[in-house]
Amino acid sequence: MADLSVNICGVEFKNPIIPASGVFGYGREYEEFYPLSRLGGIATKGTTGTKRTGNIAPRIAETPAGMLNSVGLQNPGIDHFIAKELPNLLTKDTVILANIAGSTPEECAEVAAKLDSTDVHMIELNISCPNVKQGGAAFGTSCTMAEQVTAAVRKATSKPLVVKLSPNVTSITDIAKAVEAAGADAVSLINTLLGMRIDIKTRRPILHNNVGGLSGPAIFPVAVRMVWQVANAVNIPIIGMGGVTTGEDAIELMEAGASAVQVGMACFTDPFAPVKIIGEMNDFLDAHGISAVRDIVGTVQPW
C-alpha cells in the first residue's frame, strides 16, 4: 500500500483525487454511491455572489471521447452554500475546495470574504468558465484581468487560494505567472476547451448556448501539455485536470507536474471513477516499487 497523501499549500489530502467542480454538485448525490471520505477532496459547484439560474437546455452534448456542457454556473448563491451545504460537507472527512466565480472582481472578492470566516479548507477561484457572458473566461484570458481578479480575492481571504485557469489562451504560462504574482497559492488546470456541435439536419447548434466547454478524454493530452508547461513556469503547486479517466492518467498528470488531480467527466461515465482511480494509482505505485505518490510529482524526463 503506497502512501497516497499529498500536501498542497499546507492542506493535507489523504489522496490526490478530487472530483472537479461542476460534476459533483455539493456531494449529496454521489454520497448515495460511496462515502465521500474516500476522496482526497471535493471541488464544489461554482458558486457566485447571488443565485444564478444558468443557461437554457440543452446544456449537454456528447462528442467523440468527450462532451460539451453549457450549464452556465447555475447555483444557489454563496449565502445558501455557506448556510446549507458547507456545514454538511465539512463533516465528510475530506478536503473541501469551494469553487467560486463572479461577474466582477468585486463579486469574486465578496464571495471569498464570506468564505474566509468559514472552516472551508481552500478556495478555488474560477476565472475560466466559458459559459457565462460576464466574468468567467473573460478574466482568465487576459493577464491583466487575471491578475486583477486574483489580487482582489487575495485581499479578501487568507484561505489557501487556488486559481483555476482556462486553456482557451495563447499562452497559459503567462496567465499562470500573472496569478502567481497576484498572490495565488496554487493553480488548477485545465478548465474546458471551448467547442461547438451542430445538428446537421436542423442546422441548430446542439447546445442552446451555441457553444460550450469540451471535457473528457479528448482533452487529456492538452491537459498534460499545459500542466507540464505551467509546472516549468511557476513555483506554486498545480492541481491538474482534463479528461482523467484512469489511475494511469492521474499518474501521468502528476509526472507532468500536478500535485493533485481532479476528475470530471469520468464521474458521469462511472460514478465510482474517482474511487477506482485512487485504487489504480495505488496499484501502479505498488507495482513499480514507489512508496509515496508525492515522489512522482514533476518527474517527467523531457527529451
Binding site: N55, A57, R59, I60, A65, G66, V71, F268, P271
Partner: protein, 257 residues
C-alpha cells in the same frame, strides 16, 4: 446508499417495431425498488455518457426490469446490439416517478411514440381503470398495444397518417372526448409538442396531469445540472429544475411550456 450501479444480464431481447427494442434485465434489487415513471441510466460500451431510458416494466417477483427504447443514434444502436446473456452497465432506479392515486376511478395514459413504454407500469397499477391513448406517426412505429390491453387498459391507437389504429390524427382528439366525461388524472410521455398540447387540454378542463420529460443528460443523479427544465414554483417564481432528479415526471402546471 440510494443508487445502485451494476452490470445486469439480459434475459430477453426482442425487436418489437422498426428500430425499437425490448430488453428484459435480471436485476432483483432494482426491480424491488423501481417505481412507475422512473428511469435507468445505461452505458453503451465505448461511450462516455450514459443513455437515460424509461422503465417499461417492473416485476419484483421475477426480479426483472423491462426497457423499451428506440435506436436513435450510435449509442442506442450499440445497446440494441447486445444479446441475451450479455450485460448492461446500469445505474438505477433514478428520478422521481408518477404519483399513483389509489382512489382514482378513471385515468388516461397518453403515450406518443417512444413515450408509450413508461405507460406500461402505470397500466399495471391502474388495470381496468386506465384508458391508454397512444400516438404514432405511422403503422411501422406502433408498439405495446397488446401489452397495455393485457394489463387491463382500454386502448385507443392514433396514427398521424391513419395507417393503423382507430383514430387518424393526434392523441388530443380522443383525449378531449374522454376529459369531457370526467377523468381523475392524465399521465403523459412523448414529444414536447404532444406534451404541450396534452397539458393545455388538461389545464383548460382542470384535469390533474403529470408529464414525463426528456432532456440531454450527463450524470443522471442531479449533480451536474445538465438536464435543466424551466418550471414555476408555488410562489410563481421561475426556476430551472432538473429532469433527472426533480423529474422526469412533473406536474403539467409547473412546467414552463
Amino acid at each position: 446508499m440510494k443508487y445502485t450501479q451494476g452490470c445486469y444480464p439480459i434475459v430477453e431481447k426482442k425487436l418489437i417495431a422498426q428500430d425499437t427494442v425490448s430488453i428484459t434485465l435480471r436485476c432483483p434489487e432494482v426491480a424491488a425498488a423501481a417505481q412507475p415513471g422512473q428511469f435507468v441510466h445505461i452505458l453503451p460500451k465505448g461511450y462516455g455518457l450514459r443513455r437515460p431510458i424509461s422503465i417499461a416494466g417492473i416485476d419484483p417477483e421475477a426480479g426483472t426490469l423491462r426497457l423499451v427504447f428506440a435506436i436513435r443514434g450510435k449509442g442506442t444502436k450499440e445497446l440494441a446490439g447486445l444479446n441475451e446473456g450479455e450485460y448492461m452497465d446500469m445505474i438505477a432506479p433514478l428520478g422521481h416517478g408518477f404519483t399513483l392515486k389509489n382512489d382514482a376511478q378513471h385515468v388516461v395514459l397518453v403515450g406518443g411514440g417512444i413515450g408509450v413504454p413508461p405507460m406500461l407500469p402505470l397500466a399495471k397499477f391502474y388495470g381496468t381503470k386506465a384508458t391508454a391513448i397512444s400516438g404514432f406517426r405511422s403503422f411501422q412505429q406502433v408498439i405495446l398495444q397488446e401489452d397495455l390491453e393485457a394489463l387491463g387498459a382500454q386502448t385507443i391507437c392514433c396514427t398521424e397518417d391513419g395507417t393503423a389504429g382507430a383514430v387518424k390524427g393526434f392523441v388530443t382528439t380522443p383525449l378531449e372526448q374522454l376529459l369531457s366525461e370526467g377523468v381523475d388524472a392524465v399521465y403523459a410521455c412523448g414529444p414536447m409538442p404532444m406534451l404541450r398540447a396534452v397539458a393545455d387540454v388538461c389545464m383548460r378542463t382542470g384535469t390533474y396531469c403529470e408529464v414525463s420529460l426528456e432532456e440531454r443528460m450527463a450524470c443522471g443523479v442531479g449533480a451536474c445540472l445538465g438536464c435543466a427544465c424551466r418550471t414555476r414554483d408555488e410562489k410563481g417564481e421561475e426556476q430551472f429544475v432538473h429532469v433527472c432528479k426533480n423529474g422526469p415526471v412533473f406536474k403539467a402546471e409547473e412546467v414552463q411550456w
